[in-house]
Subunit: 221 residues, 2 copies
DNA sequence: ATAATAATTTAGATTTGTCTAAAAATATTT
DNA sequence: AAATATTTTTAGACAAATCTAAATTATTAT
């Protein structure tokens, strides 16, 4: 596996995440994701195509090649292992780990990462509940759905919160819900679309429609 | 404290190490250390001078300002804490830690480093025996050790000779070693604990275990 | 189907960090 | 102290990664 620049790695990672949702990725989408101008995207797409990391024809969008996906999974592996390390060993809170891991992920020593993995006890998910790819780039595939759509009695992990207002965070904190919290839907009430939910061994509690709408979970595997 | 590029940090660190030995650092010295061309050094020196990290007048060499030293000590702190982590927690051998730490040291989150320090139990020396600067950049300045215990490639200054016999003095005189002589250990042989040592630009020469045992040196960061 | 709009690419500029080759300053030797 | 050698700096070029503005292609609406 060759080495890629920090910049190239950031593009590859962003494409990977976008194509998980959309399939084919467009120039503007990627520009928005990376906070760069569309012209910069085109430049980099040419370079990554030349390196055979993606399929790209002018004006047709792009998607990672198999090689590109392998590279992406390597970066994601590093990112998530560092996130786990930061939360588990250095006692960072779940909302602080991402930014630091963004930098650590670009240190690309395979030996470092494999030993870190071992030191951490081969964790399978990061503090946000996202699965960590193994040495061979294999990753547990799980689907992200809105909490409103989660089937009954399926254990799922909170993976994303759309609204980032202090109000929602206050409420989530009060209910002890964060990224990574395991949830199970026990009842739904059609009158107000509220639901009763269980988290670990806590007693069942209620979540309003407005709140559930903003919580996304991952389940299945 | 502002942020500096990886490249700037590497220059600052290299100057710090060179000026520990020589005081004023020259363009060619630094070029050799960094495996870069002298022209590149001059370019960077102008930039670092503009940022007030060093004192520099054309043709006169350069040395770090107080601010520059503070930056250097921050980088060295990060490097040595990562080295300790790699050796202690990830079970890297002492000769493997340096290269990986060269990359990790450039991740410049203060919170990360202070929490890492705490996680490691506030170690005072790295796996090579070099002191680790604290949060405020304070570093154990010079430590006196027996020449037998001096790490490789560390410039040290002879500070004391235990035996005062005419025999040892004759030998020291012959080898041009006295109090104040700068030495660097290049090789050690476990067979007879003899070592090869360099003093300034003289060719490498050999010192026996019996002699090394009686020589004490001081060395810094 | 054609015009208007939006998305994408191209062309050319900028910054950072590097280089080579030539010029200038300093140091050394005779 | 002049000539020679060494060191350092300058001048100009190049690659990577970005940008702006203009041109091109694709999409949408009439």
């Amino acid at each position: 596996m060759l080495n890629y620049s920090t910049s190239e790695e950031n593009y590859i990672k962003a494409i990977y995440h976008l194509q998980q949702q959309d399939g084919n990725v467009t120039t503007n989408e990627l520009a928005a994701e990376l906070k760069a101008k569309p012209a910069s995207i085109t430049d980099m797409m040419k370079k990554l195509k030349a390196k055979k990391l993606l399929h790209y024809e002018p004006y047709q969008g792009f998607s990672l090649s198999n090689e590109g996906k392998k590279v992406a999974l390597g970066i994601i592996r590093r990112h998530r292992l560092w996130e786990f390390f930061l939360a588990e060993k250095l006692k960072f809170t779940w909302d602080e780990v991402h930014e630091v891991a963004e930098h650590l992920e670009h240190v690309s020593s395979k030996k470092l990462i494999d030993k870190l993995d071992e030191f951490l006890g081969f964790p399978r998910v990061d503090p946000h509940g996202d699965p960590i790819p193994d040495q061979d780039g294999k990753i547990e595939t799980s689907r992200q759905v809105c909490l409103l759509d989660l089937p009954f009695n399926k254990t799922a992990v909170v993976s994303h919160v759309s609204d980032q207002s202090t109000e929602i965070l206050e409420l989530l904190k009060h209910k002890h819900i964060g990224i990574g919290t395991k949830l199970e839907v026990k009842k739904k009430f059609s009158f107000d679309n509220s639901m009763e939910v269980k988290a670990g061994r806590q007693p069942v509690f209620t979540i309003s429609e407005q709140l559930a709408k903003n919580i996304f979970v991952k389940y299945g595997a």
